[in-house]
Chain length 269, copies 2
């Protein structure tokens, strides 16, 4: 395994080195360009009172909430995602919510750690965007250095305890033949949102104006593209915000947990 | 293997029995409802002078021309498609072309057989329509007893000798989520046209009016559907008509060759 030096290459290509850099406080920004062959995940930490319901919510809504790791209560380790991984220090930046409101954005959560906290790691679309690009499909938001456009749909998630709400989707504008290929490719990755959930007719899922996203940058669609929608990892975040748990800690958007899983190992075939 | 009696069930479910019935002259109509688990094919018989070019044309255009069987010159058998199969008698009705013009529609071609004739059998969309329906995708043309809508596109086939022309596509109107599922399902069948070649934006492939097909029935699209286009087995037929070979014998549309291959065995995974 290549171990890039942080001196010769500021962006480590190896997951272990990336986590060490982040743990040491030497990187507090986005993780998009770090260890690109490795799976990055969304983080959601909740008190154990909420854990069973949230696990159930993920199980009932696997396309927006693909659970790839879950810790024991009070245990900051997730060895299935990385031998050395410490969830309290290994993300560049966190968001701490109390009763649904952001109260802090620290670079570690040692001060917030409690014996009743359970960590959930959910797959993210970084894992399928790489194979899309390797297949020659151009992703405009990445080429422009923008965030993918996200929309709140009229599709209800399946509720579990206090967790409920509408499904959030991300949208990538694609030429029709690219869209067909993208469906084939992302179908191979059921644990990182999988195949699109919709395409072509945004009004059917409650999206009136593609150029006015709920989050991310306006896509600036052209007439030779169709909009292709994937279930988005912001869905559980919206569900958690609405549930207003007493405490919740997530990654700051873009500052993900880097695991030792390889993206290609998530391919179902 | 179930051998349905033609007395108790007028449409045989077994390929061998279907061919025997047809060979005996007891069935001269369409084959759509016959032996539905088995692969049906398009037939094209050409003098050996044309055979190498036509084989090349199929190889260069695998999506519209998925070759599943080819005979030796003068040999009416295709044992890989059916032990007993005699290409001269086992189709309900044929079309005989001389210099590109239809001159006969006989129920057998014993009178036309020559020692230099080569038979080509190409996969057809019947093989993937059945798995689509088994997955709950409704196909309107079948529900209405109509022919699927076909269009001549602006997409050039790759020419080989005298064979060339535009690609013909078949179109099925589908709801977006069904279209995504249909792409997954038909991707499993690369030998019977495979994944769609286009969707959503017909003008991009030279189709101005979906309700005015080149062949088949008008689809009567609704606003909650998108048009999904598959490469069509009529493409080689158009190429052959333009090449105007001295002699060419095809199936009459809808009256296919029934093989012993199972549709499910054509699935790539």
């Amino acid at each position: 395994m290549a171990r890039a030096s942080s001196k010769s290459n500021p962006m480590p290509v190896d997951s272990l080195e990336a986590r060490r850099l982040i743990r040491a406080g030497a990187h507090t920004g986005h993780t998009a360009a770090m260890a690109p062959a490795f799976v990055q995940g969304n983080l959601c930490i909740l008190p154990s009172d909420y854990a069973a319901d949230f696990a159930d919510f993920c199980q009932r809504n696997p396309k927006p909430c693909p659970l790839i790791g879950m810790s024991a209560a009070g245990d900051p380790r997730l060895p299935s995602l990385g031998e050395d991984l410490d969830i309290r220090t290994d993300l560049p930046r966190y968001r701490v919510f109390r009763d649904g409101e952001v109260v802090d954005e620290p670079t570690d959560i040692m001060a917030y750690w409690r014996e009743d906290l359970v960590s959930f790691v959910l797959g993210c679309s970084f894992s399928f965007e790489r194979p899309l690009m390797e297949n020659g499909i151009r992703l405009r938001h990445l080429e422009r250095g923008e965030n993918v456009a996200m929309y709140k749909t009229n599709i209800d998630t399946v509720a579990a305890g206090p967790f409920s709400g509408k499904m959030v989707v991300s949208m990538r504008p694609l030429h029709p033949s690219e869209a067909i290929r993208a469906i084939q490719i992302t179908s191979r990755f059921p644990n990182v949102h999988g195949a699109p959930i919709h395409m072509g007719l945004p009004a059917q899922i409650g999206i009136d104006d593609l150029e006015d996203p709920f989050a991310g940058d306006a896509p600036q669609m052209t007439g030779d593209e169709i909009p292709v929608f994937w279930a988005c990892g912001v869905t559980p975040q919206v569900a958690v915000e609405q549930a207003r748990p007493t405490l919740c800690i997530t990654h700051k958007p873009g500052s993900m947990i880097i695991t030792d899983l390889k993206n290609k190992d998530l391919a179902a075939l």
